[in-house]
Point group: C2
Chain length 337, copies 2
Amino acid sequence: MSTQAMRGTVTIEEVAAAAGVSRSTVSRVVNGSTAVSPEALESVNRAIAELNYVPNRAARSLASRQTHAIALVVPEDTTRFFGDPFFAAIVSGINSRISKSDYVLNLFIANDDPGDKTTSYLRSGAVDGAIVVSHHTSDTFIDRIAAVVPVVYGGRPVRERERDYYVDVDNARGARVATEFLISRGHTRIGTITGPLDMPAGVDRLDGFRAALADHGLTAAAVEDGNFTAADGADAMRRILETGDVPDALFIASDLMARGAMNVLAGAGLKVPDDVAIIGFDDSPVATSVTPPLTTMRQPSFEQGEEMAGILLDILAGRSPRHVTVLDTELVVRASV
Amino acid sequence: MSTQAMRGTVTIEEVAAAAGVSRSTVSRVVNGSTAVSPEALESVNRAIAELNYVPNRAARSLASRQTHAIALVVPEDTTRFFGDPFFAAIVSGINSRISKSDYVLNLFIANDDPGDKTTSYLRSGAVDGAIVVSHHTSDTFIDRIAAVVPVVYGGRPVRERERDYYVDVDNARGARVATEFLISRGHTRIGTITGPLDMPAGVDRLDGFRAALADHGLTAAAVEDGNFTAADGADAMRRILETGDVPDALFIASDLMARGAMNVLAGAGLKVPDDVAIIGFDDSPVATSVTPPLTTMRQPSFEQGEEMAGILLDILAGRSPRHVTVLDTELVVRASV
DNA sequence: CTGAAAGCGCTAACAA
DNA sequence: TTGTTAGCGCTTTCAG
């Protein structure tokens, strides 16, 4: 390996010289153009390998106006991002799809960023497009990003516009199915622990819950909200217990919150499902790690991630994918109901 | 907001024109040079705000040979990355330090990347430096990255060289302290579940364990290894149970593995700490979420992350930080011993 | 303190 | 199929 190869400063010019062709031809080879003779191809490729040439990203991006990078923007703090298996699943899905393309994924945990550097970074042409998961009403910086690069949302965006692209799960229907299952089991005093009400997913699940109840002439026995975390589920459960009026069943908008609630219930000497039946949402790994195993609505998060990435890739490739995709949820019956 | 501002294509040229100065002056203002008159400063800043100007990253990077981006490289699969609170803590620490600087953090979950795109991306000048956590013997692509940009390792790198920068915790000492604590409690038939032996952290903890035992004329009652996950801890525990010869105490190299092991123990009708005393490593949130709460060696992962980021920032600023930093661990006594 | 001029390394017409 | 020629938007001497 030559010294300059070690220094990582080989330019297209040197490759061209070594291969005995012009810069343009090297560029064509690097970019996979077919209009190159076999001999030229061969000698350029050899020169590239010998010199250990890697095209300079900035120069390429400046000239082509493309970065081949995609941002994954998570408007949450690190704790919640890492604490919730939902993100693990959705990021895996995104990563799986992106890694089959020639794009790279940059991750931005945006909430931890006081100076809003994320926004100006993304607006500075650092990426070709962005995927936003976990979108809150208060996250106005997203709009500023969407003004500059195509954005695909995970979940219905908070201020939906016609031109928005997003992949959602049918939260309202999922909540409705879950609640109806509780009703079908003979429960009548049914409460809920909702997700954050500044997120469409939180609102939609609450709506579905209420709709199911209304269909059967019932009203909510309790409504408390949380931010999808186990700690919030525990807090919400405590608030419900404090009312002294414990529901006989609970629809809880995330498995993690269900786990927190179940802990509190156990501490209070209440049995699941005998005293309180519980149904969660997600079907994440925690659903099977709690005792008793959690009945829950499965949402296809990995697939959601793959789909989002696929749509963004389509947009970037100049295709015209569907704007709205809604994936279905599925009831998974275990022992908590 | 003007149309061009919306399109995000305002260039330094237009700002200069609007402010009635030259490109150079705008550049000076943007880069915080002091050699600008108050009037020029004022009018440039106004033009920037009015036009909503954001400097083009690629152009700036091409001209200045800096990207102001740092890569966080995690050679693990997504599942383990998201499943282990250790990463949450270390990433929080890194993020916390970086977000106070004017650098941005790009995350690469490198193992999921079949075509080794991460390597060529990082070698293409896309970042100014990299932080590598969870380094395995087999991860040779790291060397190719380290040849091009400064790298700071979390934990002693697998092939340590003098010029390497890293921040480690004193794993050997931590394991030793943990094991000695078990011995001091009167245990003599002590086993261990180690971390992966292709990682220095795994090896060092095993060494410390063995050293403590040797000091007291004891030998290991069982040695099984795992990849730091709960599932691996459970598997290892099963293998130990299968020998029919159950140790009366276990040093387990991660809290997550301890949790897995405790589940298996409970399933086998064995009580912690009465039948088997257990001490873990990490003091992650899982330590307090298991029953009984886990005695464990606390490692300062958040601080480790902060320190790593600080060192890289120092290198990039042209300072000369210490190459090796070793942080201490601390025994946290709870009910599992 | 300011502006002019020369690139940074690459892509993309346009000719040949 | 190939090379020549302009830039992409910015930083950075170097004069003034």
